[in-house]
């Protein structure tokens, strides 16, 4: 099984430059600088069908073509390492165990788009990882992979780490840009898109850590080889962060299109051999799916969309039959309520309202009309906000209520949890 990103890493001691070079690292950069044109790089990425690994799944090669070609002045590439989606912990491991893959990917991306400067925006809570990235960049700079006239070419590129302070909203790409600029992390209204008006008002492309980290392999082995690892329109391998009621939670890099059942087996199967109840296949903001549907689904963008959810960031949250879906949703709703930036009305006011209703239901104060109210409010939030946080808050609510409505109704009528003895009765 080909692993694009973590192949050859032992998970602890192989993150340094010498180890990366020993694995064939920076060969892709040498290849690029010894004769490839920026267009050829972009074409290779397009061929690979690499799609944005941060959650939206936008074709990476196409995104790179949005950058203005003949722009006079600085252009930026920015890496979104602000991994804050509940259930997602893949970028942290890339930064920790293979940071040079990201650095090399960003250098190649900068070459392809004519960028002179890059920022790697790292989630605020993973300080030790930030420190390791600082070391890695310093290694790359000392070795001549970063800075002026890289490897003796006419191409110059500087890369800096920038750590945030843990606001989930700073993972939204324009809020991230605001944060780098030293402002309050709040999303910008789009258009204009970052490719025309990005960091400091300059053309900017923002990609996820895993996306950039996939690029060296694509250049080295060709886009077609990458595509063939996965499925048409869903190229490559992908890291899945499997968590929840499984025996071996962790990151698993598998080819796109791997059946969920296989992934679950790799993760050691269900804890205590219990029955699978539900799975959130792409991080907490994606719709939940009942376990029996997931067991029939493959792990790629198109298959999961067909099943009614989204691949998102690849965070697979597995829940067994002891899980109270009301309690689960309450916890998710609290997260979005807490992390809403407060800039625009539907999200600022709606996320708190959703949370309070679910909180009431969970605590035996629910009313039957609350369920339709939840769906109505979700409708009124989704698609009405400046950024996708509103959608992220609404989608779990709709899917939880729609797939597990009986459980919510039981909570309301019996003022206690359906899953029985696993949870004590809620105070009325």
């Amino acid at each position: 099984m080909t692993q694009v990103i973590m192949g050859g890493c032992d998970g602890e001691n192989t993150w340094r430059l010498k180890d990366y070079v020993a694995r064939g690292g920076y060969e892709a950069l040498r290849k690029v600088l010894s004769g490839m044109t920026p267009d050829q790089v972009i074409t290779e990425v397009k061929t690979s069908a690499l799609r944005g690994r941060g959650g939206a799944g936008f074709p990476t090669g196409l995104k790179w073509t949005f950058m203005p070609k003949n722009y006079v002045g600085d252009k930026y590439v920015v890496c979104n390492s602000d991994e804050g989606e509940p259930g997602t912990f893949k970028d942290r491991d890339i930064l920790r165990y293979n940071p040079h893959a990201l650095i090399e990917g960003m250098i190649i991306a900068a070459f392809a788009m004519g960028a002179t400067r890059g920022y790697n925006y790292i989630h605020g809570e993973i300080w030790s990882v930030y420190e390791r990235c600082e070391e890695a960049i310093e290694e790359a700079r000392s070795a001549g992979f970063l800075g002026n006239n890289i490897l003796g070419s006419s191409f110059s590129f500087n890369l800096y780490n920038h750590h945030g302070y843990g606001a989930y909203i700073c993972g939204e790409e324009t809020a991230l840009l605001e944060s780098i600029e030293g402002k309050k992390g709040q999303p910008r209204y789009k258009p204009p898109f970052p490719a025309t008006y990005g960091l400091y008002g300059k053309p900017t492309t923002i990609n996820n850590t895993e996306t950039f980290a996939s690029v060296p392999w694509i250049i080295q082995h060709g886009g077609q080889a990458f595509l063939e690892i996965g499925r048409p329109n869903n190229g490559g391998s992908k890291m899945f962060s499997v968590s929840g009621h499984v025996n071996k939670p962790g990151n698993y890099e598998v080819p796109m299109g791997t059946p969920f059942a296989t992934l679950l087996e790799m993760a050691g199967g269900m804890r205590d051999g219990r029955a699978i109840k539900a799975v959130i296949p792409g991080g907490s903001s994606m719709p939940v799916l009942p376990g029996h549907i997931m067991m029939q689904t493959d792990m790629d963008y198109d298959s999961i969309a067909k099943a009614g959810s989204m691949l998102g960031s690849g965070a697979v949250i597995v829940m067994d039959d002891t899980t109270c879906m009301v309690g689960m949703l309450e916890r998710l709703a609290w997260f979005y309520h807490e992390e809403s930036c407060g800039q625009c009305t539907p999200c600022r006011e709606g996320t708190g309202w959703l949370y309070r209703i679910i909180h009431r239901i969970e605590h035996g104060q629910g009313r039957m009309e609350d369920l339709d109210l939840l769906l109505s409010l979700s409708d009124n939030i989704q698609g009405r906000t400046i950024c996708a946080l509103g959608d992220a808050a609404a989608m779990p609510v709709r899917s939880f209520v729609n797939h597990f409505r009986a459980e919510f109704e039981h909570h309301i009528t019996h003022k206690r949890c359906l899953v029985g003895s696993a949870h004590s009765e809620k105070a009325a």
Partner: protein, 793 residues
């Protein structure tokens, strides 16, 4: 610019590329509900109230932030759009208190209005509402932050229009709240606009609070009376008797939708306890109330007697430039009909050398609406934000458009916008500094400075002067303006002459920043000694300074507080107290009993009809909003009756219209033809070496411009109003052994003032900023003189 065809609600229109759906709808007269959008502010798109349906778009889009596209079809009131708008309204209301009955915004609240159209009859929200702590933003803005819908208009106003970020959004999500900086209030000179911008009752007017409901108030169009801009205002009156507040009236050519705090809050003074409501006369050394007939007869008799005994030359008149055109016209008519030309409104001016060479009326030189198009500009001697708060706003817009602002000033000024170059020196150095700029400009343009100004061309231009010159030369659309500090300067004529020469070489417009509501109108009316109405030239009389230094036997003083308004208060009081007879026409008692013989209560601008001509030459007439208080009468009526009692011909005016008609049947044309800043000849140059002592920079504090402003308790309590201090730089402070914050005694002539000292290196060495026009400094004399500083015991 490419034009795009766009269809909104079935109507088609064309908009320029880069405009939004909101722009297109406004162009068609289609109203889209909104809160955060404001045409003068940047786009925030945060309220989401303006969501509309756009064909082929997968979700509703905010009209304010969606760029128009060719062939775009928009529905603003389809079921789809209205559902989205109603949903947003529901969200806005969930945490908004239902306290309209006790909210000052009630009746003029955008949220209230919109909720009628888009709100539900009952709320689906059954949870607890959010409560947000109120903030102390100072004496002008009251807060009820629980009502805030976080549209951020106030925040954007501060950053973009006022040029100073005093408010921001703290916290996140539901914990978001509008905040000032820790322990700071909102102190901008135009802060009150945030009240107008606030679509809800979160920010309301503190002075107006709980005093009336908006629907009780009648609206009267009027004109701002406290600077030269001529801001259009609405005076709001309760029960036809009391002015309750003043708001801006939109006029994009003048004040746009803004108003300075001075014009907004000074109405408080109208209802001051210090208002005069009865004529006062002196009987046996005691002030007693009198009838108008008695009081006016005493004035007429006294004037007649002094004229008969001493001659008309013994009569003089000092009048306020904030008086109406009609009042000023009658005042000078009365004086001139009595045979005297000693009338002046320029009471703060000290150099009148231009009078001999200036035939036209000095004005702004460039219409206000064209300011934002400037690419470079030089302002000479001005505390611009205090003098002309809204002209500073226009310049800020010019800077946003790429303009460079340059200053030649007696201190480094904070204009709350980027300033390219500031050439700073003590007052006595200013003519030389300006001449350096002239020299550099002439060199760059390769022309010779006119012979008359050659004596000034001695210094090699400094790097800053060179920078200013390059800024002016390299930016084709530039202009030069002389501020009030220049106009009050003892070498005003010299500064003016250099400016004329600069403008000639640069082929640039130049002008003066008119100090008062009627600075242009006063000259047109003839309230100056060297020029009668309509420009008719008479034997020149004595100017405002000469009238005091060569005291008259009788004075007519209209609308002034001489101990505060005159360039040399000590000299003014001495002259008035030494006169045989002084009639004071004043709305306020103030210090008048100390120097007047008869006190006649007159109506301030809200209680009389009249005309102001703004500094850009805009003729704006207005009507009284309320009847005069008590026995007070409009000054034009007083002067008219006085004319009758003096048995002068032609005082049968029935209305202000009659007075204007006598002046001209086409005042606008007359004004237009009379404006002109060119000089007939060069004035006598005045260059003074530094006096070697501490030169006084005598600027008028922002809230001490006239008697009405001085009587607004809220303005006086604000940080700008309550901060009265001496400012010197650290080098001078060290030499004088004085420390920042300590109390110092300022001595000038026989007078002294005790003020707090602030060490501020924006002030050049050898000079001190000591404000004029303030009661605390009223004992001092010459605004341009020298002062001594010492520690107060």
């Amino acid at each position: 610019m490419a034009l795009l065809n766009i269809e909104v609600d079935g109507q088609t229109t064309q908009v320029e590329s880069g405009r939004t759906v909101m722009d297109a709808a406004r162009q068609l007269g289609i109203k889209i509900p909104h809160f955060c959008y404001h045409r003068k502010l940047s786009i925030a798109a945060n309220c989401r109230m303006c969501l509309v349906q756009v064909e082929k778009a997968p979700k509703p889009l905010p009209a304010c932030a969606t760029p128009a596209a060719e062939g775009m079809k928009v529905s603003t009131h389809s079921e789809y759009a209205v559902n989205a708008q109603k949903a947003v309204m529901e969200f806005l209301l969930v945490n908004h208190p239902l306290d309209c009955p006790i909210c000052d915004q009630g009746g003029e609240c955008k949220l209230q209005d919109m909720s009628v159209g888009y709100g539900g009859g009952a709320s689906r929200f059954k949870e607890e509402k959010r409560v947000v702590a109120n903030k102390d933003l100072g004496p002008l803005i009251a807060t009820d932050m629980t009502r805030c819908i976080l549209c951020t208009r106030c925040v954007r106003f501060g950053q973009e229009i006022a040029g100073i970020m005093e408010l921001g959004v703290g916290g996140r999500g539901e914990h978001s709240e509008i905040l000032a900086f820790v322990d700071q209030t909102v102190d901008s000179e135009i802060s009150g606009n945030a009240i107008d911008l606030c679509p809800v009752g979160a920010l309301t007017s503190k002075p107006f609070r709980y005093s009336a409901r908006s629907w009780e108030l009648t609206q009267h169009d009027s004109i701002g009376a406290h600077d030269g801009l001529g801001s259009n205002v609405v005076v709001q009156v309760k029960q036809n008797t009391k002015v309750m507040r003043v708001l801006p009236n939109n006029n994009d050519d003048v004040n746009e939708c803004w108003l300075s705090d001075r014009d907004r809050f000074s109405y408080e003074g109208l209802n001051s306890a210090d208002r005069l409501t009865t004529p006062l006369i002196k009987e046996n050394g005691q002030w007693v109330e009198a009838t108008w007939v008695e009081a006016l007869q005493i004035v007429a008799d006294a004037f007649n007697k002094i004229k008969d005994v001493q001659g008309a030359d013994a009569l003089g008149a000092l009048v306020s430039p904030n008086s109406t055109l009609e009042e000023l016209y009658l005042a000078q008519k009365l004086l001139r009909d009595l045979g005297s030309h000693h009338i002046d409104h320029r009471v703060r001016q000290s150099d009148f050398s231009l009078d001999a060479v200036q035939t036209n009326i000095p004005w702004l030189g460039l219409p206000v609406a064209q300011w934002p198009e400037l690419k470079s500009c030089l302002i000479i001697g001005s505390s611009l934000r205090a003098e002309q708060p809204l002209l500073a706003v226009r310049l800020r817009e010019a800077v946003r458009n790429g303009a460079q602002i340059n200053l030649v000033n007696p201190f480094v000024d904070d204009l709350a916008m980027p300033v390219a170059h500031q050439l700073v020196g003590t007052p006595s150095q200013l003519p030389g500094l300006l001449a350096e700029v002239l020299q550099a400009v002439a060199a760059l343009q390769n022309v010779t400075v006119s012979a008359a100004l050659q004596p000034l061309m001695s210094h090699a231009p400094s790097a800053v002067a060179q920078g200013i010159a390059e800024s002016l030369v390299n930016n084709s659309s530039c202009a030069l303006f002389l501020g009030c500090l220049a106009q009050h300067h003892e070498a005003y004529g010299t500064l003016y002459a250099v400016t004329v020469e600069l403008a000639r070489i640069l082929k640039a417009p130049f002008g003066v920043l008119g100090e008062a509501a009627n600075s242009v109108g006063a000259v047109l009316a003839g309230a100056v000694p060297h020029r009668g109405p309509l420009g008719t030239h008479n034997a020149p009389g004595l100017d405002a300074q000469a009238m005091l230094s060569s005291p008259r036997k009788a004075y007519l003083v209209m609308g002034l507080e001489p101990e505060l308004d005159c360039a040399n208060p000590a000299a003014a009081l001495a002259a008035l107290k030494g006169a045989d007879f002084v009639v004071a026409l004043s709305a306020f008692r103030g210090q008048t009993p100390n120097w007047a013989s008869v006190i006649l209560p007159i109506a301030p601008f809200t209680e009389t009809a009249g005309t102001f001509i703004s500094t850009e030459g805009r003729v704006q007439s207005f009507k009284g909003a309320v009847a005069p208080q008590g026995q007070a009468r409009p000054a034009w009526k007083v002067l008219r009756v006085l004319g009758n009692l003096l048995e002068l011909e032609g005082y049968d005016f029935e209305s202000v219209d009659d007075i204007r008609a006598e002046l001209s049947h086409d005042l606008k044309a007359l004004t237009k033809n009379s404006l002109g800043n060119e000089l007939a000849a060069a004035p006598a140059l005045k260059v003074r070496a530094s006096l070697g002592t501490i030169e006084r920079i005598g600027e008028v504090p922002v809230y001490q411009t006239d008697a009405l402003v001085r009587r607004s308790p809220s303005l006086q309590a604000s940080r700008l109003g309550s901060t009265v201090e001496v400012q010197i730089n650290s080098a001078l402070a060290t030499r004088l052994n004085l420390k920042c914050g300590q109390n110092v005694r300022v001595r000038q002539g026989a007078g002294e003032a005790r003020l707090s000292l602030r060490v501020n290196n924006a002030v050049p060495d050898g000079s001190a900023r000591v404000p004029v026009g303030h009661p605390l400094t009223a004992q001092l004399n010459d605004a341009n003189g020298v002062v001594n500083l010492e520690a107060a015991s």
